[in-house]
Symmetry: C3
C-alpha cells in the first residue's frame, strides 16, 4: 500500500464543527448512490488530466494543467497524503508518486478511504476501461448494486439483432429481468446527452416505437438511441416496471446543450408519470431548481454529485445551496466518480467537510440541534438511498 | 395566551451584528407588503404539513415530515418558544402543544410577534379558509390594506353574469372603484399560474377581449381567466388606472412552469407599459434577475418573500443575493404568509435576522456606516412600501 | 491633485487575509483586459447618477439616488478618501468635493490608484465623450492596447460608402489591418445588444452577406448592424484572422434581452468556430454558466467585470462563484469601467479585496498554499491576459 493516510476531513476548520457532528461525519458509512468504476489499467499523464476535466473533449493544452483548478487543488490537498506525500504536494510530485503505484493498489487505497459501504454503480459507460461493479466493491471493501442505463439496454437489443416489431416486448422483458435481479436497483437515462429535456414526454404509441426502431436500425454504424420517442418509451417502461430512474441533469461534457438540461424542462413528465423514484443527478448550476422539484413532487429526489468534486473548496457553497427548499428526505449523496479513484474518495471527503461546515454553522447559531444535524447527515448520506432503492 | 415569547432574533449571532443596528432591527415596525390571512379554523396535522410545503399538491407522504426541512427547523426554533416550549422542541411536541391553542389565540400570538404595523393583504385566494384583511389586522394589532387580484375581479364579473360585450367597461369600472377605495392600494396578477410570462404583452384590442370573454363564458364550470389576451387586458387596465401591480414571480406550487416565470420574460411588458409601480414577488430562484430589473426600470421593485420562509437558515444567503445590483429604494419586505400564522411571524424574524447578519458584516468590515445600514433597513422594511402604495 | 489616498484594500478584513497574499494583492500591476475611457469633460450630477446605473436608460428619479446602492456605497467608501474626504462621506459631500476637481486631475488620481499596468480598451462606444485609449494610459501612467468593435467596423464601412458587393472584401481588409496593427490586440462583438445569442451561427455565404448589406444600406439613418447574418460574418471573419473575440455576455442595459444573452446559447458557435480566444465578458447572473464553458472549451475564457463594480460589497460572493469549475488559466480581470473614473479604480480595488478574502480563506483552511493563491492571482490578474492577447 502507498503508506499514507487521509488528513482529518475537518483539518483547518475544526473550530467550526461541533465535535459530535464532526465525529459522526468522519465515520458514517455512506451509500454512494451514483458512481462508476475506476480505471482498470495504468493511464498516462494526458489521460489523467483529461479525466479530471468534465466538460472538455480535447486534450488539456500545453499552456495549462488541470492541477490549476479547484479540483486539482483538492486532489493535491486530500489525495497526496494518501500516497504518503505532504498535503498540497505539487502536481509534478503528485504525478511522479502516483506512477509508482499499481492501479489496483491505488484504487484500493483511495476507495477504502472514501468510507462508503455500498456503491450503486452505473455500468453503462465505457465499461471496457473501468472496473465492473463487483470488482469496485471488492477493491473498496464494501458492497455494490447496479444501475442499468436505459439507452444502453435498447442499443444492446438492436445491436443484438432484435427486430423492430419485437423491440417493445424485448425492452419490457429486459426491464422485467432487471426488476427481478437483486443486484439491479434502478435505471438511468442520459436523455440529457441525446436530445435535451425539451421533448414530448407523453407515453409513445407502440407502433411509433416500432417505426423509430426500424429507422434507427437502418442507419449505418452502431445503434445510438437519440430519438425522443425511444427515449420516452424507455423511461415510461422503466416506470411501469416500478424501477427508480436516475436522470443526468446539468453539468456534463460539452456534447450536451446545458441550457436544455434544466430540470424544470422535465415538468411535463414529472406531473404525469407513475410516481416511481426519480433521481436528478449533479444538477449544477440548476441545483436550486432541482431542490424546488424535490419539494414539489413526492417522488423526486436529487443530488449535487460530480459538481462537489469539480468545485473543490467551493463545494461548501454548493452544499449550502442544496439545503434550501428541499425536505431533507429528498436529497442523496453521490460522487459520480469515473476513472481515477481520486474522484471516488474526494466526493466523500468534500461532502463530509461541506456538510460539517454548513450544518456546524447551523448548530453553532442555534438553527438546529446537533442531533438534528446528525440526523440530516444520515438521511442524505444513507437512509434516503435505502428507502429509494430498497437496499 | 400561550405564555411564551419570541427568542431574541439575534440569538447565537449577537457578536456579528453591531448593537445599534441590532436594536433597530429588533424593534422596527414593518410593512408586510404582500401577505394573506391566517387559517380561521382548527386544522389537522395533515393540513398543517401540507400548508408548509409550497411546491406540492399532494399530502406529505408517510415516510417523511415537513418538520424535516429548512422551514420545519425554523418553525421549531422560532415558533416553539412562542408557545411556551423550548426552542427546537421536536415536531411531535410542537404539534401537541399547538393543538391545545385555539386558532384566534394562536394567530394573535404569532401575528403580534411579527412586529408588523401594516399588512397589505392579497384577498383573492381561498378567502373562505382564511381571515379577511380587517380581521388579520385586528388579531395582529396593526392596520391593513387590500390588494385586488385582477384575474379574480374578471372571473367575478363573468360569474356574476356580465355580458361579453359589457366586460371591458365593467372591468374598467371595477378598477376605477378599486382606485377610489382607500382600503385598496394595488392589484396583483397571477399570470405565472395561468399562462407563464412568455405571452404577447401588447395592449389588446377591445373586440378581441370581448371575443375571448365570449369563448370563456361558453365553457362549462366556474370561469377561469387563463387566456393571455384577458390577462394582458387586466394588467394594462390596472396600469391605466394608475394602480400598482404585483406579479407572482418564480417559486410557487407545481402548477406553474417555473422556467416560464423567469421575470426576464416580462421585459416586453416592462419596456412599454405606463410606469405604474410593478412589484416582482418572491422571485427565487430568479431573484438576481429581479434585482437586475429593479435597477434597469424606475418603476420596477421586487421582494424575496415566501422564499425567505422556505429557505429557513439559508435565508441569510438569499437576502445577501438580493442586495446585489438593485438600488436600496427598489426592494420591499414581505412574508407572503398564507394559513398557519407561523409563516407570518417567521417571515419577519428571518428577514430581520438575515438583514442584521448581512448588513452587520458590511458595517463591521467598513463597507457602510451603521447609520447607512439602518437606513437600508428602513427603506426595504418600511418607506419603499409607503412610497409605492401611498400608505 | 485632490490630496487623498486610497484606503488599504484590506481595511476591516486584515485578519482574514494572510500577509504575503495581502501584500501581493496590494501591489500587483494588473492588466485590465476590457475597459473604456473616462469622461473627457465635466459632468453634472444627473449625468453622474445615470452613469453609475448600468441597466437603466432613464434619468435617476427624484425620490432616490444611486448613492443608495451597493455601487454607491463602494464609491463613498473607496473613492471619498482619494478626494481627501473620510471614507463613507455622504453622497452630498462626495458630489460637492468631486465638483471642485477638474476631469483630468480626477481621472489621473483615480486611474493611478487602480494599479493597472495595461488597459485594453474597447474604443467603439461613445468615443466622443470619453478619452481615447492613448490618453487613458497617459492619465493613468500605464500602457494601452485597443479592442476593435466588429459591428462598428462594419457600420463605418457602410457609412463610408462601401458598396454592398465590396463589403466582404472590405471587412476582411479592415480585419487584416487590425491583425497587423500592434496596438490592436483583439475584437469585440455586441451581438448581445443587437440580436441576442440565439441566432444561426453557421458561417454565412458571401452572397447572403452582400444581400443583407444591400438591405441595410437602403434603410434611412445611420447604418446599424442588427442582422444576424452580418453579425455572424464579422465573428467568423475575426476568427479567420486569428483575432481574439470578446463577447458582451449577461449584465448590461435594458436594451438587451438578458435571458437571450445566456452564454450557453453560444454553444453552437463555440463547438464549430476556429479556436481563437473567446472572452466572455461580465456574465452575471450567468457567471457559473461561463465558468462551465471556460472549462469545456480550451479557447473560451471569461471575466466577471462590470458586475464586480455593481455588486459592491457583494462582489466577494461573485468572485467566489467565479472560482468554481473553470481552470484558473481561463479567467481574466477587467473593470469594464466607462465614464466616471471611480469605476476604473473600484474595479481593481474590489477585485483585489474579493480575491484576498476568497483565496485567503482557502489558505487559512488549508485548501491551497499561500504560493498557490498568489499564483492564481497572477494568472487571473496578469498572465492569462498576456497569453490570450499576446501582450
Amino acid at each position: 500500500m502507498p503508506g499514507g493516510e487521509l488528513q482529518d476531513v475537518f483539518a483547518g476548520v475544526n473550530d467550526r464543527v461541533p465535535e459530535g457532528l464532526a465525529e459522526h461525519l468522519r465515520s458514517v458509512a455512506l451509500i454512494d448512490h451514483h458512481v462508476h468504476g475506476t480505471f482498470n489499467q495504468v493511464i498516462d499523464r494526458a489521460a489523467f488530466e483529461f479525466s479530471i476535466n468534465e466538460g472538455s473533449n480535447d486534450p488539456v493544452p500545453s499552456w495549462m494543467t488541470q492541477f490549476d483548478s479547484p479540483l486539482g487543488l483538492s486532489i493535491r490537498r486530500w489525495c497526496a497524503p494518501l500516497l504518503g506525500l505532504p498535503a498540497l504536494a505539487d502536481g509534478e510530485q503528485y504525478w511522479k508518486r502516483r506512477c509508482e503505484i499499481g492501479p489496483d493498489e491505488l484504487a484500493s487505497t483511495m476507495l477504502r478511504a472514501a468510507g462508503v459501504s455500498r456503491w450503486i454503480v452505473d455500468t453503462g459507460f465505457k465499461g471496457d476501461q473501468i472496473t465492473p461493479h463487483g470488482r469496485l466493491a471488492e477493491l473498496a471493501g464494501g458492497q455494490s448494486s447496479e444501475i442499468v442505463r436505459l439507452e444502453r439496454v435498447a442499443e444492446d437489443l438492436i445491436e443484438g439483432g432484435t427486430a423492430a416489431d419485437d423491440f417493445p416486448a424485448a425492452m419490457r422483458a429486459a426491464l422485467a429481468r432487471a426488476a427481478d435481479d437483486p443486484a439491479v436497483v434502478g435505471t438511468k437515462t442520459i436523455v440529457a446527452y441525446r436530445t435535451g429535456f425539451d421533448i414530448d414526454w407523453s407515453r409513445p404509441e407502440e407502433a411509433d416505437v416500432v417505426a423509430r426502431v426500424r429507422e434507427l436500425a437502418a442507419r449505418a454504424g452502431a445503434p445510438r438511441i437519440d430519438d425522443p420517442v425511444l427515449i420516452a418509451f424507455g423511461v415510461h417502461e422503466a416506470a411501469a416496471h416500478g424501477l427508480p430512474i436516475q436522470f443526468h441533469v446539468g453539468f456534463g461534457d460539452r456534447d450536451l446543450d446545458l441550457h436544455r438540461c434544466d430540470p424544470l424542462l422535465l415538468l411535463p413528465l414529472l406531473r404525469t408519470m407513475p410516481p416511481v423514484p426519480v433521481l436528478l443527478l449533479h444538477c449544477y448550476p440548476f441545483h436550486r431548481q432541482s431542490g424546488y422539484l424535490a419539494q414539489a413532487f413526492d417522488h423526486v429526489n436529487f443530488d449535487v454529485g460530480l459538481a462537489i468534486n469539480y468545485l473543490g473548496a467551493r463545494s461548501t457553497g454548493l452544499v449550502a445551496e442544496s439545503l434550501e427548499t428541499a425536505p431533507f428526505a429528498k436529497q442523496l449523496y453521490s460522487s459520480d466518480a469515473f476513472g481515477p479513484p481520486e474522484l471516488h474518495v474526494l466526493g466523500s471527503v468534500l461532502w463530509r467537510r461541506a456538510m460539517g461546515l454548513v450544518l456546524g454553522e447551523w448548530v453553532r447559531t442555534g438553527e438546529c440541534a446537533e442531533a438534528d444535524a446528525i440526523r440530516i447527515v444520515d438521511m442524505i448520506g444513507v437512509t434516503n438511498a435505502q428507502r429509494v432503492y430498497g437496499v
